[in-house]
């Protein structure tokens, strides 16, 4: 059915598009990171690897190694993402588990409700929280009434009454969780859904308690789903800059995305912005490669089925 060249011809436009607008674009980042600036503070890319100028890269690496601001921001970002990821897992696993295994005839509806946040603009979801957490907002009043606000202040997670939007790391982390937890629930749901009920039945038949059955059968089988979900959540969080910007106007909660955004779009250090982008990509490469291989494996399995 058509020569193999038909298929390659069909794929060609897409391949060329991605090659030009994705691969070349990424190379532009590399060329600028290893480039220089002109006297108008505009970046000048050095396309030829033999010409590369490592001055800016060294400067940024020195900054990190000496514990200056870039290291601070990277560490803060790691901390935020790790905590947000853990919270997302804590919230998302029970929900995914329920939807996959106990929803019964409500499964479709539950799934629909779980997917719904994907279609709501991320910014609108954050906007909703900005309204609710403003000093006279409903959530602020509610949290004050039920005492959660006092608890947070006592735990040092909130510095002033009603000051949820005043540069609080806890607000940023919770906002990240709110924003990205759907990204974790869906793949986790898919993984849990695929687990064969019979394996659990077998464990039960062999005398395991429900909890033990969960711990020793379900949980291990869902590990790929957990990892996939965590990666899918961590990747966008690392590059997030708009969430801290929206729920906290303070420098105290700046993440690496904020630094990249500020340096690349304003000011005179755009090359540094490109360098930071490169470093961030390198750090995330591990996560990305893992996810791609896992997906390819799943795709291959599906193709063979």
């Amino acid at each position: 059915m058509g020569s193999r060249w038909t298929w390659r011809a069909l794929a060609a436009p897409g391949v060329i598009w991605l090659a030009v607008f994705f691969l070349v674009a990424f190379y532009a980042v590399i060329a600028v990171a290893f480039g220089n600036e002109d006297s108008l503070s505009q970046p000048v890319p050095f396309w030829n690897p033999l010409d590369w100028n490592v001055g800016y890269v060294i400067q940024v690496l020195k900054n990190i190694v000496h514990g200056e601001q870039f290291l601070t921001v990277f560490l803060r970002t790691f901390a935020f993402v790790a905590i947000a990821m853990a919270l997302s897992l804590a919230i998302g696993y029970p929900v995914a588990y329920f939807a996959a295994r106990h929803a019964g005839r409500w499964k479709m509806l539950v799934l629909l409700l779980l997917i719904l946040p994907f279609w709501i603009n991320y910014l609108m979801r954050m906007l909703a929280w900005i309204n609710l957490l403003s000093p006279d907002g409903w959530a602020t009043r509610f949290l004050h009434t039920v005492g959660i606000e006092q608890l947070f202040i006592w735990l040092g997670l909130l510095s002033t009454e009603g000051g949820w939007l005043d540069g609080q790391p806890s607000t940023v982390i919770l906002a990240l969780v709110y924003g990205y937890v759907p990204f974790l629930i869906i793949p986790l749901f898919a993984a849990l859904d695929r687990i064969d009920q019979r394996q659990i039945e077998a464990a039960r038949d062999l005398g395991a308690s429900p909890f033990s059955g969960f711990l020793r059968v379900t949980l291990p089988l869902s590990t790929p789903g957990i990892l996939a979900g965590c990666v899918l959540v961590a990747l966008p969080m690392f590059g997030d800059y708009y969430t801290p910007d929206l729920v906290s106007a303070s420098a105290k909660t700046n993440m690496i995305g904020n630094q990249i955004d500020q340096l690349t779009r304003q000011g005179s250090e755009k090359v540094v912005g490109a360098v930071l982008t490169l470093i961030l990509s390198a750090v995330l490469l591990v996560l990305m490669v893992y996810y791609l291989r896992a997906t390819r494996r799943a795709g291959a399995e599906a193709a063979e089925a």
């Binding site: 503070s41 921001v73 005043d166 106007a249 303070s250 500020q262």
Partner: protein
């Protein structure tokens, strides 16, 4: 660079804050050096050495001098770029104007269109960098450009983007504009530019929320470092030049020395940066430029502010039932930031006479006044407009008299001007440390 309108648009009826635009690199000035590993930008340096007995001053792009109050610069009229001759007939237009968003009253534009029977097309930019890049790209020609400042003039001249002015078409310049601004140091003879509006950097606060009388303090800037009681309700401007200059002014007021707000000294910048970082812990300082909304709405009580924003807040942004006299403003008498921006004409304009007419039109006293009252919030440097007039007309309360910039403030205060490339870098570095938290 240090223009209040940079990276945002002060809207009155529409609260659209334009996203910070991107600067387009028009081309490298100076050759690319290539193989060395360096962080020195190409085309930078300290310029031609005068003599080993003279301290070399930093220079700007293209090796051009950086204008300073003590280093006035007269830009030459070159052979290939001469002003138009006197008495030419006016063109039919359309006139292309390049401006910040919402920075000129549309009614004024309509008035001009009627008077000269010519159409006017308004295009907007978000940041000065973006504007210069677009002008330099040569793709579009603009007839009149508004909103750029003495911190951009060197770039404009270096890239040959401006047409020199013929003052015979601009009688209102001498008639109406403050004498102090008719012959600025960054453009001696007003050969290329004419002032548009003026402002100062100062402190805006809610006098009904703050216990302290900020204006009565020895060093009012100190209030920021003693604002623990107002945690979460304090803000500084999201502009590296204006905000880093604040601790510099504070230090100078304490020691009685004269600060250089265009300094390139890394030690000074480091101290300023560290001082600002203290604010993060003291009062959870916000870094924003929407004080014209947050102060009237009491979302902030104390804010580093541009005078025009405070006037705008008093006139347009007060919520129902809140009187504008709850707002107060203070700016230093000396060694603070007092600045103006200008109008200029694009080099390849096809309507030079019409462009000159537009500038003269804006400089007319009634037009300038209407522009200010209806749209802008920033005072035009007109001889006939001052604080007393505005207070008499009930436009601003007495507590904001200090927000109306006076001509005598220019001499004692400083403008935020263009730096050399290394200087820009040093400021950016200090700023990014502050913003990293």
């Amino acid at each position: 660079m240090a223009h209040p309108k940079d990276e945002h648009a002060l809207t009155r009826r529409r609260l659209l804050q334009g996203a910070a635009g991107v600067t387009l690199g028009a081309g490298a000035l100076g050759a690319l050096t290539g193989c060395e590993n360096t962080t020195t930008p190409t085309g930078s340096g300290t310029g031609p050495v005068q003599s080993r007995f003279v301290e070399a001053k930093p220079v700007g792009p293209g090796g051009l001098p950086l204008p300073r109050p003590d280093n006035a610069v007269t830009w030459a009229i070159t052979e290939d770029n001469k002003p138009i001759l006197d008495g030419r007939p006016v063109e039919a237009g359309p006139l292309k104007i390049y401006n910040y968003a919402d920075y000129i009253w549309t009614g004024l534009v309509q008035r001009f269109e009627k008077k000269y029977s010519a159409k006017v097309e308004l295009a907007t930019y978000d940041t000065a960098d973006q504007a210069i890049a677009k002008l330099a790209s040569g793709k579009v020609t603009f007839d009149v450009i508004l909103g750029l400042t003495g911190s951009n003039i060197v770039n404009l001249i270096a890239q040959q983007l401006l047409m020199p002015l013929n003052h015979s078409y601009l009688p209102n310049l001498e008639k109406n504009v403050w004498p102090e601004l008719q012959d600025p140091f960054y453009d001696r003879g007003s050969r290329y530019t004419v002032p548009y509006v003026v402002w100062s950097d100062g402190i805006g606060w809610r006098n009904d929320k703050l216990k302290e009388d900020v204006a009565a303090m020895d060093v009012p800037w100190d209030i920021f470092w003693h604002s623990q009681a107002y945690k979460g309700k304090v803000g500084v401007l999201d502009d590296k030049r204006d905000t880093l200059s604040m601790p510099m002014q504070r230090d100078a007021m304490h020691t009685g020395a004269r600060p250089d707000l265009n300094t390139e000294d890394p030690a000074v910048l480091e101290k300023a940066g560290k001082d600002l970082q203290q604010l993060t812990d003291i009062c959870n300082v916000k870094i924003a430029y929407n004080d014209y909304q947050t102060l009237p709405e009491a979302k902030t009580y104390l804010h580093h502010a541009w005078s025009g924003d405070i006037v705008g807040a008093a006139i347009y942004y007060m919520p129902k039932g809140v009187k504008p006299d709850v707002l107060s403003y203070w700016a230093p008498d000396a060694n603070g930031v007092v600045q103006n921006d200008f109008l200029c004409i694009g080099r390849h304009t096809k309507n030079p006479v019409l462009a000159h007419n537009f500038i003269d039109f804006v400089l007319d006293e009634k037009n300038a006044y209407d522009n200010f009252v209806q749209q802008n919030g920033y005072i035009p440097p007109q001889k006939g407009i001052d604080a007393d007039l505005l207070i008499k007309q009930g436009l601003i309360p007495k507590s904001l008299a200090g927000a109306v910039t006076r001509p005598d403030q220019f001499a004692a205060n400083q403008e935020l001007l263009q730096l050399s490339v290394e200087g820009e870098r040093a400021w950016d570095d200090a700023w990014s440390k502050f913003k990293a938290g």
